[in-house]
């Protein structure tokens, strides 16, 4: 995995995962919104041994721009071996409920953008007959919870696309990795009250790296979320609707 495109590269988890690839002397194209932050991440990866780090400032709400990113990465890096989609926001559920436009914007950033990137990259990897598609989704995509269903819907959409792609790409030797973290301590969640079972971005990032390196299909991280997610899926609908979660 020598040439990697990372979108949402300034996210805490993406930074941690990228450090491991940098130690393996990978080359990167980093995509994000903020040039200062991108530069800081790029410097960090270079100092850690990355072969080459390029950055591009993109508003990922611009889907046309998203779809050009794959070709751009191939051109700048001289080929592409992996796509890691780490972009994301945590929508304000209450605000989304009274503002459909905001909801669509959140869905665009958390689902449409990633899906656009995935389809483009899939086409490239399919021809190349190798590659790795990886997205950081969430355990929140497992069910529509009343407190967080806009975010959950976006993550579920991406997970479903990944599942379909896995069927399509298996023959081409392309791995499709769906990483579903639980609650992670990052700037995205810093404003929320602290919960139990919280994981660090460093441990989740390391898991992302290992999952991509070994081509795991669906990864819950930390591991116990697999069982929590299963339990949540098994709750009957009538009871689930009454839960305040």
């Amino acid at each position: 995995m020598n040439r990697i495109l990372i979108t949402g590269a300034t996210s805490a988890i993406a930074q941690q995962a990228a450090r491991h690839f940098a130690a393996d002397r990978a080359a990167f194209l980093l995509v994000g919104r903020d040039p200062d932050k991108l530069a800081a991440v790029a410097d960090d990866l270079r100092a850690r041994g990355a072969k080459e780090v390029d950055t591009v400032v993109v508003d990922l709400l611009d889907l046309a721009r998203c779809s050009r990113l794959i070709d751009e990465a191939v051109e700048r890096l001289g080929g592409l071996d992996a796509l890691l989609v780490a972009q994301g926001t945590l929508p304000d559920q209450a605000a989304c409920e009274v503002d459909p436009e905001l909801t669509l914007r959140e869905l665009s950033l958390n689902a449409m953008g990633p899906i656009t990137l995935l389809l483009r990259a899939a086409a490239h990897f399919e021809t190349q007959r190798s590659g790795c598609l990886a997205v950081i989704t969430s355990v929140a995509g497992v069910r529509g919870r009343r407190t967080n269903y806009v975010y959950g819907a976006a993550k579920a959409a991406v997970s479903t696309v990944l599942e379909g792609l896995r069927g399509r790409m298996g023959e081409a030797g392309v791995s499709v990795v769906d990483i579903r973290p639980g609650f992670v301590e990052t700037p995205m969640t810093a404003h929320l009250p602290k919960k139990p079972l919280v994981a660090t971005a460093a441990s989740v990032g390391e898991r992302v790296y290992r999952a991509m390196a070994s081509g795991d299909a669906v990864v819950y991280t930390p591991w116990f979320w697999r069982w929590i997610a299963l339990a949540i899926q098994l709750i009957p609908r009538s009871i689930f609707a009454k839960l305040p979660i």
Binding site: A12, Q15, A23, D34, D36, K37, A40, V41, D43, D44, R46, A47, R48, G49, P187, A190, K194, V198
Partner: protein, 434 residues
Amino acid sequence: MPSYQSWGRLPKATPAAVRRIYWRSELVDLDLGTPPVLPFGLGRSYGDSCLNDGGVLIDTSHLSRLIHFDSERGIVRAEAGISLERLLAVIVPRGWFLPVSPGTQFVTLAGAVANDIHGKNHHRAGTFGCHVRRFELWRSDGTRRECSPDENAELFRATIAGMGLTGLISWVEIQLVRIASPCLQMERIRFRSFEEYLALEEESSADYEYTVSWVDCLRSGPMRGLFQRANFSAGGGARGIRRPLRVPFDMPSFALNSTVVKCFNQAIFQLQRRDRISRVTHYAPFFYPLDRVLDWNRIYGKRGFYQYQFLVPNDAEGGFQEILRRISASRQGSFLAILKRLGRIASPGLMSFPREGLTLALDFPNRGQTTLDLLEELDDVVRAAGGCVYPAKDARMSAASFQSYYPQWKEFSHTLDPRFSSSFWRRVTAGAGS
């Protein structure tokens, strides 16, 4: 979950607020008016020098990126909150090591500067501050100042060992040292008297980069302990630190009574069969033996513990022996007593603790007033001997003691950032109107 307490878990302090920094490009308002601010890294200072009761803590532990690593010349520049553990993971595979290393790798780079830490090679390399090339300091007036021996030199001197009070360090650039492998050739020698110990220091200081001793402080009569000396070796082969253990809960405070500690010390002293052993060891178990046990401070229970680290000049050996006598008579000391002879290389830091002499560090489980009285007594001896006590370890020294150990504190106070303060600083300057 970060809990903003110090390593000794004493004293208890509650910040009014905590502000986390993630990026150097953030605009951070450090001028909050009345509540003073204080940078907080990984909370490995033992006492209250990293606490700010009623004030605002600026958590820098997420500011942990590398900025530049020149692996030809061994110069690394990194953000303030990177831990030495993470830094070592990058530099060691490329043939470099920290110029000075403390007893744990779980401290931040900026914390190493702010406390001007010292290590097993003080007699050869001086303090951490001796190897700092430059750093950037954020002041509450909104300026960001680069400091080096030539630029903002006064702030440079004040910030090294400045306990986080001169502003917020955002990045640091240091000079590393070359190593041929991650392993050291180490020798451990048993000694049975103070004279034997001094002779070992004497014969080792020229040929060994690293020396340190463990002393049994519960024993009356002649001093005994184990002297270690080592150099990085050309060959490898030794194992690194294994999967760390963790103390899962607070032990009851009676668990470490003097009988338990006595048995423990006896075991440490006797487990080594021969008087002298020699072997190759990986850097991690050599420099950071306690890092194998995460949260080891919990063995002292909820009441916490005091660490006392003092230094007396070489010509005050009488004072040193007097302190050892009092500690053993009190039967309060714990098993972690570390002895080291510091060399004469001066630090650039204005408020640095290390100076030429003998330094001893040991833990005292918190037994309330009894412990405080003993430490006060020890302070009297240290003062009379012309020595000093290490602020990074301290949770109780009096303002009078501090001001006599560090007469330069007045000069230092002129360089403080007016919006920065700590629980420690307020305590040791109480009544001084500063």
